[in-house]
Subunit: 239 residues, 2 copies
């Protein structure tokens, strides 16, 4: 295992690692459906919406479409999916409201206390493909306290592009080996390690619901693996 | 007076508006001098250091020198000044320590409680020419809680370049007239108003010491003028 004693800052993936996006999006859909008396397939929509996310970012990185925020990509995917999941008759303001569900995601239960404790020992910041205003809204609603907000929007690239991690370390004024990426996704961690970050895998084996098949176990290259931020704090803050 | 009811976010100048940089820098110099038994002119150095700041940023904006952080500009100015103020014999680590005094500035006394109250009603962020790591360090030390850190470093321009204000509003996801710039400097406020921000002038008439001659009164174009963040909160948070 690499030396973790040099780590001064922790950067966190948000969608899936800190937040239970699937339950949150389904909840928001059902609330909207109840208000409009609309019986759509909100579970199917949530999964398909999320499944469209990586390909949409790839189209941006490949230059097929211009740089845009996750809010904008989410909306494009959503517009395409709504009719296929029984929600084609939503008004534009309601589609916008649903699109902004990603600004109102609920946290996994271990996050508030774990992050508070970690913040006593480390600089803490999200490092997310979510745009800044999304991360600000989500953090205010969940009462998360960050030292700064780091977002792909600041760098013009999405994770796992190496420039995102490199530029994040530069803004923090730290060498990459003084920063630890905390994520539930091996792709994110392997990319962060590629520029010299330390890495912590968080098990979130129900992120994609009961049938999840990906990221059930950490990549062998990650530095530590934990069941939640409470365990991460216990591991890192007792040094 | 313009309609302030639409304002959702407050962006704050840091050097002078939230922090008493002059007293802080002199304190840091004296502490260093006491440790090294060095009787330098710390007051003169502090004032000359700050006086070199705007010209240095202008050389960057004019393209005479490449883009760099305030930490870097501060160091260039400091290296030039030290021998002239009786501190030419400092070691490189001590010069670095002194340079990083700007990461350890003390707040004006009205700031902590005023900002806490303002944050209950508004998004709050610094919008400073200080680099991100400087603002993070300063905020952690002073226990300031921000929704995000906005810095010239993110935009590749220094205030009062209009792009800084425009890009800040974009990151916040807000139209410029939903953002209020809070500063003790008319130049900053006039530039912010130029892109559509609302503006609040804070009287800091001893920022430059007892002989201050600038920014003693607000520009007639600013929307409101207050004696401190406590008064700003009283004015804005009772709506």
């Amino acid at each position: 295992m690499k030396d973790l004693a040099r780590v001064e800052a922790l950067t966190f993936d948000v969608f899936g690692t800190l937040t239970d996006w699937r339950t949150s999006i389904i909840r928001e859909g059902r609330e909207l459906g109840a208000r409009l008396d609309l019986d759509a397939d909100w579970e199917g929509l949530a999964d398909a919406w999320r499944a469209g996310y990586s390909p949409a970012m790839r189209r941006v990185e490949d230059g097929e479409v211009p740089w845009q925020t996750i809010d904008s990509l989410h909306r494009t995917i959503l517009d395409d999916l709504l009719p296929r999941y029984g929600a084609g008759r939503l008004s534009d303001p309601d589609v916008d409201l649903l699109n902004r569900s990603w600004h109102r995601l609920d946290l996994w239960p271990d996050v508030p206390a774990g992050l508070d404790r970690l913040r006593q020992y480390f600089l803490v910041a999200p490092l997310s493909n979510g745009n800044v205003s999304l991360l600000v809204d989500l953090s205010r609603r969940a009462d998360l306290r960050w030292d700064c907000i780091l977002s792909a929007e600041l760098f013009g690239h999405f994770k796992p592009h190496p420039e995102v991690y490199r530029a994040a370390a530069t803004l923090l004024g730290l060498e990459p080996d003084r920063v630890m990426m905390v994520a539930a996704h091996n792709e994110d961690l392997v990319a962060a390690a590629g520029v010299g970050f330390r890495t912590a895998f968080v098990y979130r084996t129900s992120e994609h619901g009961p049938q999840q098949t990906t990221d059930l176990e950490p990549d062998p290259a990650v530095d530590i693996a934990v069941r939640g931020l409470d365990e991460l704090a216990a591991r890192l803050c007792s040094r």
